[in-house]
Symmetry: C2
Subunit: 384 residues, 2 copies
């Protein structure tokens, strides 16, 4: 096992009715900014529950945080937060609202150009406290300290992270997910699955607890994900998928093990060039990526084949092939295509995608740093 430093101070309030618990978690005299996205939380009753929990405290609401939250949008919230003397931000939504709100809480007290927080020129020294009411199970942002922010004006998509922006609490009520569109439900399952894979399917370092945890999350997603397509209001399945998605990226899986993330990096550029959803790109890239890198990942692919897919018979090659095929079949079963052509993209702009990878310095990806642009090209070609 590798050394690690693990710190996950977010309190999780999990289960039906837990939004009421916001009342105890937000300080009584707080001046609260409630942030949200496209407005589904206004329609499905979640915001009503939030307002009821906040009681007299609510000061301002800021909606319209888009998927892949935009810098310009978030800066308007920063300005509003400063004007209103906001001292608590409550994000109500999915990963984009949570990510965007992490930038907002860092931006409000930042002296200087907040853009510097994203380029690395500036550091988060202090942040307004943040809470999250989660309405989409996918990214894990509700229990980690990272965020991805886009700037459409310049075409940038940048990551920032700081322990100061950890949500103080996250409310996870699975029943708030009953009304999700099928596509978002399916995307969330794929996203959580690939988050787990990126921290698990590398090379062995004899980290048995982490391996078993990862396998447990994968099995849970495989068993429970498809149930949601049949019955979107299956509380237990929602609960299991929701908790799996949070556990997939709260730090515990990746502690003390190598990590990959090359599938994510390629996926980001596909989103930039072709506009596919984040999870849609992951479902396309992952099977091709695993096939292309079967040698460096051989030991873990065999472990994955056996423990997750029950493949114990046949040659090593057959078991690896079987595991990759099963992964692909699982995504397809969730209704998420695993080739670009599945989205009608028959002539993908591979050069544009690779140029973006190069421009972003993504030329040595993966747990061994051996995913060069050539490897990335081969993966993309296999994913057409």
């Amino acid at each position: 096992m590798n050394n690690f430093n693990l710190y996950v101070p977010t309190r999780v309030l999990f289960g039906q009715g837990q939004i009421a618990g916001v009342a105890k978690q937000v300080p009584a005299g707080a001046r609260v900014l409630v942030t949200y996205g496209g407005g589904s939380v206004l329609a499905n009753g979640v915001m009503d529950q939030v307002r009821a929990a906040l009681g007299e405290r609510i000061v301002a609401e800021f909606g319209g945080i888009e998927p892949n939250p935009d810098y310009a949008t978030l800066m308007r919230a920063v300005t509003l937060g400063r004007e209103q003397g906001i001292d608590f931000v409550l994000a109500v939504g999915g990963g984009s609202v949570a990510d965007g709100s992490k930038f907002i809480v860092a931006g409000i007290p930042y002296e200087g150009d907040p853009w510097d927080l994203l380029t690395g020129k500036g550091k988060v020294k202090t942040a307004v406290p943040l809470g999250v009411v989660l309405t989409l199970a996918a990214t894990g942002s509700e229990m980690n300290s990272g965020a991805v922010i886009s700037r459409r004006e310049t075409g940038d998509k940048l990551f920032f992270g700081s322990e100061k922006v950890f949500p103080r609490f996250a409310v996870l009520d699975p029943s708030t997910l009953f009304s999700l569109p099928v596509r978002q439900t399916a995307n969330g399952v794929v996203d959580a699955f690939v988050h787990t894979i990126e921290q698990y399917l590398t090379y062995p370092v004899n980290a048995k607890v982490q391996d078993r945890m990862a396998e447990g999350l994968l099995l849970t997603l495989i068993e429970e994900g498809p149930k949601l397509l049949e019955n979107p209001s299956d509380y237990d399945a929602r609960a299991n998928v929701m908790w799996a998605a949070t556990m997939a990226l709260n730090g515990y899986l990746g502690a003390g093990v190598p990590q990959d993330w090359s599938t994510h990096m390629l996926g980001h550029e596909i989103t930039a060039v072709h506009g596919l959803d984040h999870a849609q790109t992951l479902a396309i890239v992952l099977p091709a990526m695993l096939a292309a890198r079967r040698e460096p990942k051989r030991a873990k692919l065999l472990q994955y084949a056996e423990r997750v897919w029950g493949l114990r018979e046949g040659s090593e090659e057959a078991r690896i092939d079987g595991a990759i095929a099963a992964t692909r079949a699982f995504f397809e079963r969730m209704g998420v295509p695993t080739q670009l052509s599945g989205h009608g993209i028959r002539e993908p702009r591979l050069d544009a995608i690779l140029a973006k990878l190069e421009a972003h310095g993504m030329t040595k990806l993966g747990e061994h740093g051996d995913v060069t642009l050539d490897t990335s090209r081969a993966v993309l070609e296999a994913a057409v």
Copy 2:
């Protein structure tokens, strides 16, 4: 899945050489009280590393915290802490030192009789910050907010817990365990195993992530525990067992699921009456407890049989019998007897043990509250 409130703010610094990290975790100007137990940390070099990390900061050391830490001992540390104006306590040792230090950090600022903190008459309103350098993998105290304190003067053994006494950080360096006596190593594996069982082997609530995590911890302990008997300096095995023991009682396993703890309660009284080590009592009670409660635990016993012990053939009864026998054999393989007679106790003082259970109100134990004194007697009789 049941609702839950999960909060685990302890930072974990894991791995070889991490004790040096104490330098960054303890505030520069802190007046530090270093607490420890019987002195093995003075002999094995751990205290030297701690002193080096603390540099000029160290103010006082307090040794002699005994297994099942005693109120009178701890009160001497409280007095010392007050006299010295201590504002940080660093516990260097195993679960007893960690538990005892939780009482010390709550006791120092407490106005009133600190005994009230244990009886429930008083509440922890504030506590001196606490850090832990762990030198024994077993209890999980390094990453939770509970402690068990004994008062030999009155024969009491009481639990207290408060989020205020969560360690701010815990350093887990597996190489500090190389010099542990075999008995403590084996006890630690059994302790972590039974902690996991008490939160897993109850009745199904469809909590798939928690179930898979628990099974992963059990498999890790089964695979890695025996290696330590052969090679006490096996770093990877130490690391896996150490992390499993922490994960077994940091709150994640028990979140959203029923819990049992009846084996622990009976075990406590056996320790009180016959003086056996805590883990020794667990190894004696658990197999008999599972056998006695096979009906209410049937579904989970069958899951345990299949997923942990690979028992898929034969009748339900045969699989359950097999799982209980395998559990017993595992403890025996670790060198920990599973009958009282294994410790030379052929005529146990069952009446005294049951009288203590009754005196402590332990008459309706278990996840269903159906472990009466009659059940406890039957379990103890089966464990002779």
